[in-house]
């Protein structure tokens, strides 16, 4: 696989075309789940897995599936992958599924996955689709973690509280109490806090892009046009 193309895929997923900050896809799970950094991490990991699997499956089947039936087939593939993840978690990682249980089915509502299947995986060989799934998934997961950490810090004064529920007993020490005990701004925990937090992150990204020089803006517009 061409290294420049691979780098482009990763740059797109992590920054230039980040599913959370630029495409603004998958807002339903993104806003609903990110009350804490650990929740964000959990949904992020599950999303990465589903995205990689569905991208691979779609890419492998891309010559078999005619355009007329591709969308139902993609939906079927995605739903199957999510169910496989859900059942496997319940059977073999039961405690983890207790924590992630409600998030896993939410992945079905994440349009990022359908968008990547349609826009990328259905036109590219499996190896590129694999890279794209990883890059987009990690980009999405990073937004989830950042938003979760921010809301958790403002909402209850900690970061990475309850990490042991997701990662096992060793992670208990990860919890950082950054604000005095009893600190809490309810707004950050409620849905409006999620919208405000995401809005601030999008604004920050726009600021960082526009700051250096006009050159980068044109680059950005080029990629946007190319995508459209």
């Amino acid at each position: 696989m061409d290294p420049t193309f691979r780098n482009l895929i990763w740059r797109q997923g992590l920054w230039q075309n980040n599913p959370g900050l630029v495409q603004l896809l998958g807002l339903c799970p993104l806003l609903a789940v990110t009350t804490t950094a650990v929740n964000g991490l959990g949904l992020g990991l599950a999303t990465i897995f589903v995205l990689v699997c569905s991208n691979l499956a779609v890419s492998l089947l891309r010559s078999t599936l005619q355009p007329e039936v591709r969308i139902p087939a993609f939906v079927l593939i995605i739903a199957t992958t999510v169910t496989v993840v859900d059942l496997s978690l319940q059977a073999w990682w039961h405690d983890l599924s207790r924590t992630l249980g409600i998030f896993v089915p939410l992945i079905v509502t994440n349009c990022t996955i359908l968008a990547r299947a349609e826009a990328f995986a259905s036109r590219q060989p499996p190896i590129s689709a694999l890279h794209d799934g990883l890059a987009q998934g990690i980009g999405f997961a990073l937004v989830l973690i950042a938003l979760g950490a921010g809301r958790e810090l403002i909402g209850q004064g900690t970061v990475f509280a309850d990490a042991d529920l997701l990662l096992g007993p060793w992670a208990e020490g990860l919890t950082l109490q950054l604000m005095p005990e009893g600190w809490g701004l309810l707004l950050a925990m409620l849905p409006p806090g999620a919208f405000i937090g995401l809005g601030l992150m999008v604004a920050l990204r726009q600021y960082l892009i526009q700051r250096p020089a006009a050159v980068n803006i044109t680059d950005e517009m080029d990629t946007q046009t190319a995508r459209a």
Binding site: T35, Q66, L76, Q90, W92, H94, R98, G101, P105
Partner: protein, 217 residues
């Protein structure tokens, strides 16, 4: 009609069959394990309230369902017995009066109708506020230990915001009220059943796993 026209449909059918096969196989592979894990978890929650030396019967299958006025769904009552003598009852109940939906509680009661302990199994209350009903977040739920319908007196069986005796969690008045009321209702239900609580035959579908809220987001 030419074969070409049918090709898309056939491809879709093939994908559907493949998906169905994978899911059916995985379901076969995981079904027993999942049932086992859920049973283990239900038992773990029960034994957290009741130490193993308090009962020697098949606690997980010795239950019946009983409708309770004030609760939308019937309460599942587990009977713990030691040497065939009643040693405790555990009520598995769901109240829908929470701030954001259902709260599932386990209430363990002595044969003399005082509370051994209360635990929240599942809930969707606001993180940081209502979730302090969980034992791992605060000791609030322990204030019911040792309570009964005579201690405190009936008028005091309410959160202190409503003139009762139980502490109200700050910014979680509705959650607090829902749990306090549900605990009182379960005590009343148990006492009014009296001897019948121990004598009622277990429901037949004894190995069915209690409905799991976390499976229905």
């Amino acid at each position: 009609m030419s074969l070409k026209r049918w090709k898309p449909a056939l491809a879709l059918i093939a994908v559907g069959l493949l998906a169905a096969t994978i899911l059916a196989g995985l379901d076969r592979l995981t079904r027993d394990r999942i049932a086992l894990e859920q049973e283990r978890r239900a038992l773990a929650a029960l034994t957290e309230l009741l130490p193993a030396e308090r009962f020697d019967n098949e606690l997980v299958s010795d239950w019946f369902e009983h409708p309770v006025a004030g609760l939308e769904r019937p309460v599942r009552i587990y009977r713990a017995r030691l040497d065939d003598q009643p040693s405790a009852a555990v009520l598995d109940l769901i109240t829908s009066r929470g701030y954001s939906g259902d709260i599932r509680l386990l209430v363990a009661i002595e044969p003399d109708w005082t509370i051994i302990g209360v635990r929240v199994l599942e809930h969707r209350e606001t993180p940081g506020l209502g979730d302090r009903i969980e034992i791992r977040r605060s000791d609030w739920i322990r204030q019911f230990d040792g309570a009964s319908l005579r201690r405190p007196i009936p008028e005091a069986w309410a959160p202190d915001r409503r003139g009762g005796q139980f502490d109200t969690l700050t910014n979680a008045t509705i959650t607090t009220g829902a749990i306090t009321d549900a605990v009182r209702l379960s005590l009343e239900a148990a006492e009014s059943l009296d001897e019948a609580l121990w004598a009622t035959e277990p429901d037949t579908q004894a190995l069915e796993i209690p409905p799991d809220l976390s499976q229905n987001p």
